[in-house]
Assembly symmetry: C2
Homo-oligomer: 299 residues x 2
C-alpha cells in the first residue's frame, strides 16, 4: 500500500466485509436460549453501521505491521461496545430515540427490558472477545488492550461523557464542558480502537503514543462533524432527522462556535492527526485516508 | 487454618473489611466529574452487601495457596458486576423495585438515566479491575480469569438467566427452565468467583475443575435458599418483603417443588459441594464453611 495509489473505498469494502463476517460468527446464535436476547443483539449490531471503530483497530494494527486477522476479535469487541452504547442511549429514560438508521430502535422493536439486557450482554460479549484475542496474540498485550478499551468505555470515557451530555441538556454550556463531552463520549473509544489495534499487533511505545494522539484528534474531528451533520446534513444520507440536537438543547460545536468555525476546527484537527502519522510512513496510509474521511463524510 | 478451629464469623469479618476498604479505594472519586455518576456507583456498591462473591474469589485463591491481596482487584470486580446487575434488574422496565437493603434503589435515588449509566460504568470498571490484577499476577492467568468472568456475566450467564427469568414471569415453568434460570442468573457468577480466584492464584487444572464443580453446586444452593427466604424469611433480617416472588408469578424452587423438598435439595447440593473439596484438604476450610452458610443463612 502507498498513499498515492491508496483506494480508501476498496479498503473499506474489504475490511468492513471481514468485520461483518466475523461479527456474524462471534455473536450468539438466535437458535440458542434466550433467543429473544440474541435476536436483539444481532438486530442492533447487524444494522448497516459504518464499522468505523473496528476498521480503526485494524488500521492501527496495520500501521505497526500487523493485519486484520490478528486483531479481529478486539475489532469486533469495540463495535459491540459502540452498539451497546447506542442501545442504552436510545432508551426512553435517556435520549428516547425511536429510529436509528431508518429502523425502529432496539427498545421499540423488543421492549425496554430486552433492550437494557441486550446492551448489557453485548458489553459482556465484547470483553469475552478481547480475552479471545489471546488465541493469536501474547497475553501481556491482551491485558494492555483490555485496560485501554475498558477505560475508554466507562466513566473515564464513553459513559462518563454521556452522563455529562445528559446533565448539560437545555443548559448554557461552556467550551470546557463541551470539550469534556466530546473527548469522553466519542473520542475516547475511537482513540482506544486505534491504540488497542497497535498494542495487539506489538507496536512499540513510541508508535502507540503517536497513534494515541492521532486517535484523540480524529475522535474529536469525528464528533464535530457529527454535530455539523445534525445541522447541515442530508437526512437521506445520514439516516437521521436534522436539527434534533438544537431542539433538545444539546451542547454542540456549531451551537457554541457557529458552523464555519466548527468546520475549520475539524479540518485543523484532521491535519494535525495526519501530521502525527509521518514517522509511520506508508504503513499508515489507511489511517491517513480515514482521517480525511472523518470530516468529508456525509453520513 | 484447619476445619476444627475455623471461625467463619471472624474470617468473614476480616475478609469483608479488606474488600470494603479496596472497593472504596478503587471506585472513582465523588469529587471527580461526573460527580452524580460516581455518587450513584458508590451509593449502590457501598450499601452493606454481604460481599459473598469477593469472599469466594479470595477463598478460591486461598484454597490453592494464594491470598486475598493477590486477587483483590478481581474480587472487587465481581462485586461491581453483581452491583451492576442489581441496579439494572431494579429498573422500572425490569423488576421495578423501589427498595433494596432498606434504602431507595438507584433509579429512585438518582433517576433512571443515571441508574442505567451507573450500572454500565460499574461493568466497565469491573473489567478495568480484572486487567489491573496483572500488576500482581501473570498476564496469562488474568486473561483466563477475564474469560471466565465475562462469560459468566453475559448471555451465557447472569444476563441470559435474567432474560429467561423475565420471560417466564406469570407462566407455568418446568423444572428444566427453572434450573436454567438458577444456573445462569446466580450460579454462573458465583462459580466464576471461586474459579477466577483459583486461576489467578495459579491453581492447577485439577484444582480449578474441582472448584468449578464446587461453585456450581453452592451457586444453585444459594439461589434455592434465596427462593426459600422469599417464602419463609424474616423481613427484618432479609431486608426484603416476603412473598414478592409468588405475587409476581416468578419461577422458584418452592413454587415448583414445595418448601420441604427445596430445603432438602439445597442441603444435598451443599453436601455434594463439600465432598468435592476433600482433595484440597485444610486449605479449603473457608470454602467448606461458606458452603454450609449458603443454606443456613437468614439474610
Amino acid at each position: 500500500m502507498n498513499t498515492a495509489s491508496f483506494d480508501l473505498r476498496e479498503y473499506l469494502r474489504q475490511r468492513v466485509a471481514l468485520v461483518d463476517e466475523a461479527l456474524t460468527r462471534y455473536l450468539p446464535s438466535e437458535h440458542l436460549r434466550p433467543q429473544v436476547l440474541h435476536r436483539a443483539m444481532r438486530y442492533s449490531t447487524m444494522s448497516g453501521g459504518k464499522r468505523l471503530r473496528p476498521v480503526l483497530v485494524i488500521a492501527g494494527a496495520e500501521a505497526v505491521g500487523g493485519d486484520a486477522e490478528l486483531v479481529m476479535p478486539a475489532a469486533c469487541a469495540v463495535e459491540l461496545i459502540h452498539t451497546f452504547s447506542l442501545i442504552h442511549d436510545d432508551l426512553p429514560a435517556i435520549d428516547n430515540d425511536t429510529l436509528r438508521r431508518g429502523r425502529p430502535t432496539c427498545h421499540v422493536q423488543f421492549g425496554e427490558a430486552v433492550a437494557i439486557l441486550a446492551g448489557d450482554a453485548l458489553f459482556a460479549e465484547a470483553f469475552q472477545l478481547v480475552a479471545r484475542n489471546a488465541e493469536t496474540v501474547p497475553a501481556e498485550r491482551v491485558v494492555r488492550a483490555l485496560q485501554v478499551v475498558a477505560e475508554a468505555s466507562g466513566t473515564r470515557g464513553m459513559v462518563g461523557g454521556q452522563m455529562v451530555d445528559i446533565e448539560s441538556e437545555g443548559k448554557q454550556v461552556d467550551a470546557v464542558t463541551l470539550e469534556y463531552i466530546h473527548r469522553h463520549k466519542t473520542a475516547a473509544l475511537i482513540r482506544a480502537s486505534v491504540v488497542s489495534g497497535a498494542i495487539l499487533a506489538g507496536g512499540e511505545t513510541w508508535q502507540v503514543d503517536l497513534l494515541s494522539r492521532y486517535g484523540e484528534l480524529v475522535g474529536l474531528a469525528f464528533q464535530i462533524t457529527d454535530d455539523l451533520l445534525n445541522v447541515t446534513g442530508d437526512p437521506r444520507k445520514t439516516g437521521k432527522a436534522v436539527g434534533t440536537d438544537a431542539a433538545r438543547g444539546k451542547a454542540t460545536y456549531p451551537a457554541l462556535f457557529g458552523v464555519e468555525a466548527s468546520r475549520e476546527r475539524a479540518r485543523e484537527l484532521v491535519n494535525a492527526a495526519v501530521d502525527t502519522l509521518v514517522p509511520l510512513e506508508e504503513r499508515a496510509c489507511a489511517l491517513r485516508a480515514l482521517a480525511y474521511l472523518m470530516v468529508e463524510r456525509e453520513e
